[in-house]
Symmetry: C2
Amino acid sequence: MARINDNYLKLQAGYLFPEISRRVSEFTSANPDVDVIRLGIGDVTRPLVPAVVKAFHEGVDEMARGETFHGYGPEQGYDWLSQIIIDKAYKPLGVELKPSEVFISDGSKCDSANILDIFDLSNKVAIGDPVYPVYNDTNVMVGRSGKMNEQGYYEGIIYMPCTEENGFTPQFPSEKVDLIYLCFPNNPTGTVATREQLKGWVDYALENDAVILFDAAYEAFITEDHIPHSIYQIEGAEKCAIEFRSFSKTAGFTGVRCGLTVVPEALTGTTADGERASFNQLWNRRQCTKFNGVSYPVQKAAAAVYSEEGWAQVKGVIDYYMENARIIREGLTAAGIQCYGGVNAPYIWLKSPQGMSSWDFFDKLLHECSVVGTPGSGFGPSGEGYFRLSAFGERNNVETAVRRIREKWGK
Amino acid sequence: MARINDNYLKLQAGYLFPEISRRVSEFTSANPDVDVIRLGIGDVTRPLVPAVVKAFHEGVDEMARGETFHGYGPEQGYDWLSQIIIDKAYKPLGVELKPSEVFISDGSKCDSANILDIFDLSNKVAIGDPVYPVYNDTNVMVGRSGKMNEQGYYEGIIYMPCTEENGFTPQFPSEKVDLIYLCFPNNPTGTVATREQLKGWVDYALENDAVILFDAAYEAFITEDHIPHSIYQIEGAEKCAIEFRSFSKTAGFTGVRCGLTVVPEALTGTTADGERASFNQLWNRRQCTKFNGVSYPVQKAAAAVYSEEGWAQVKGVIDYYMENARIIREGLTAAGIQCYGGVNAPYIWLKSPQGMSSWDFFDKLLHECSVVGTPGSGFGPSGEGYFRLSAFGERNNVETAVRRIREKWGK
C-alpha cells in the first residue's frame, strides 16, 4: 500500500505565489481590458544584457558542432565558472574560496530547499517571520514540524519575529537551535544586516555549533558601502555558514536558471556517533546523485555576467531597478504610507494604509488600482498588516502604480 | 549542535560514474598521448540537431528583447511544451494525457531522485539488480535502508536480481512492496519488456496498491514494433504508475538538461488516516516549492525536437547510435564474447571474458585497449562479471574499440 508523505497535508492550501497568480488570473479574466501592473512576484522584467546574450548564443553554437559539443558537465558546475565567481564576486570582498567549495545550480530556490537533504531531521530550525516561504514549507514537507497553530506558526519550528519594533531584524532565539536561516538583503522586508549584526550571528553559531543558511540572493542590490555582501566577510563564518547566491535577480536569470551555493570545506557537523563530518562532502554527494549540472549554454551566459562589459551592463539594469525602488519608496512615503527597505534591496515593505489586513489591501490594490503586490501575511504572521512591492518593473509602470496608489490612499 | 544526515555515511565511497572518471583521469595523466575511447558513462557525443539549435537560438533572442523576454516560467513547464509532448510522443501510442499531468524538469535523474519526497518513509521499495545507481542510493540517503551487507545489498531494500537465467528480467518480489522501480529499455542491461510483462507489473501494482516508478529514458531507442514505449500503453497504468522521460539521450540533451515526469491525476496513495490522496497534487506542490522551472530557451529547444524537421534529424542521430550498437554487439559476439541488449537500447551488456570480475575487466580494458566501459558490478551485485558498453560514440571510435577488444580477447 503506497503511502504518501503526510507532511505535505500540513501545508497551507496554496503556496503564496500560485495563490497570487490565481487571484490575478481571476481578475484579468473578468476585466480583460484593464492594464494590470505586476509588482508582486518579484520577477525581473528587463531583458538579458547584450554580453550575456552573446555568450549564451556562443554556448548554443558550441553545442551545434561535434568538436565543441558538451554532454554531461560536472554536477558541481564547470570549474571555469566557479573560478570566475570566486575571482569577481568574492575576492574583491576579501573572501578566499576554492572551486571545490562552489556548487553551481539551477537556482537558489532549489538549493535552499534541497540543502535540507544533508541535515538530520532532529536539528532544530530557526527562521525569520516574515520569511521567504520556501524555508518554512520545505521544513514542513520534510517532517520537521507539527501542524500549523492558530497563529499561523508550525509547531517545532522556531520563529524569529521581525517587526517594526526591532527594525525588522531577527533576534537570537531563546531556545537552542541548530540551523538558522538568514536572508540579507531581506526578502520580503528589504532590510540589511550590518557587519556587527552578522558578527553576532556568526559568534552565536560558532558557540552553539549551529549552521547558518545565508541567502544572499539580493546582494547585488546593496548600495551602501558598509553593508557586507557575503557572510564570509565575517571571520569564522567558513566554519558555520552555507551561502546561497543567484543570477536570477542580479542578471535577470529568473527564466534562464542559474545560482550557486558555497559550502566551505571547513564546515562540519556532528554524526550520530559524535564524530565530525564535512558538509561539503555531503552536499557534493547529494549533487552527484540527485542533480546533473546546469545547462552548458546557461553556464557560458552566467560567466559573461562577470566580464568587464557584462558587469557594466548588468550594473546598469540593477541601477534601473534601484531607481524604481527610490520612486516607490519616496513616492509612497510622501503620500504618508510608512515604507521600509528599498535602499539596499529591490523590495519596499510598506504598512497597509488604514490598518487594512495584507490580503484586504492586496484585493483592494488589485481591484481599485490594478496593481499587484504581495501580501505581507503570506510571508508569516508578523507580516500581517504589511505589504511588499517589488522594484522589478518598467519605469512607466512603476510611476503609474505609484500615482494610482497616491491618488487612492495619499493624503 | 548541527547533526548531519547519517544515512549518507552508509553509501559506498564513490558514486559509480565519479569513480570511473577518477580512474580514467589517473590513466590519462600517466599516459597523456594515448587515445582513450570512452564508451563508459553513457554520454552522447553527437551535436544538437539543426532544428533544435535554431529554436534554442530563437529562445535566447527572445530573452534579449523586453517585448519577448521571459522571467519565471511555470514550475511545471510551459503548457505548449507539455502539449507538444502529449501530441507527438503519447497520442501516437494511444495514450491520452492532460498538460496538468506532465511536469517538465531539468532531467530525469533529478526527477527519479526527487520523486521520493512525496512518499512516506515506511514504503517498501523494490529495485532491480543490476540497476541505475540513483534508485538505490537515493533510497539509502533518505533513510529507507539499513547498512550494506557483505553481498552488497542494503538492508530494508528489496532487490530483484536480473540474471542470465531469467533473461535479465525482474521477477515479482516474494514480499509485499509499495514502490517498484522499473526501467525499460533497461539501463544497464539493454533489455526490454514486452506488453505481457508490463501488464504483469501493472496488474501486480493494482492488486497490491503499489506505485510503479517507470523510467522510460531510453524509449526512443526501441526498434522493434511490438515493444511498448510507455507504461501507459497498459490498461490501468494511469492508476499505478509514474513515468520518467528525458531529452538527454533522445535528442542529445545531456549537457542541455530537459526531462519530464508524468504523474496521472488518477494516481492516488494512502494517507496516515487511510484516506486517498493525489500524487499529482503532491508532486505539483513539491515542484512549486522546491523547483523553479526549466530554462526558457531550453524548453524552446526541447519543443523543436518534436517538429517534423527536428524529429527527422533526431531520428537520424538515434539510428547512428543504434548502428554503433549493432557494430559492437555483432563484433563482440563474433569474437566469442556473450552480449545482451543493443537491439532496442543503446547499451550492450556483455559477460567479461575469461570469467574476469567487472572492475578487473574495466582496468584491463582501460590499460590494454584504452577503452572505457562501465563495470557491471557498479550497478549491483548481480552485475558482477558483466560489463556495459555504450553505443554513444563516434563511428570510428566504436569501430576502433571493437577492433582493439577483438584483437585482445577475440577467439
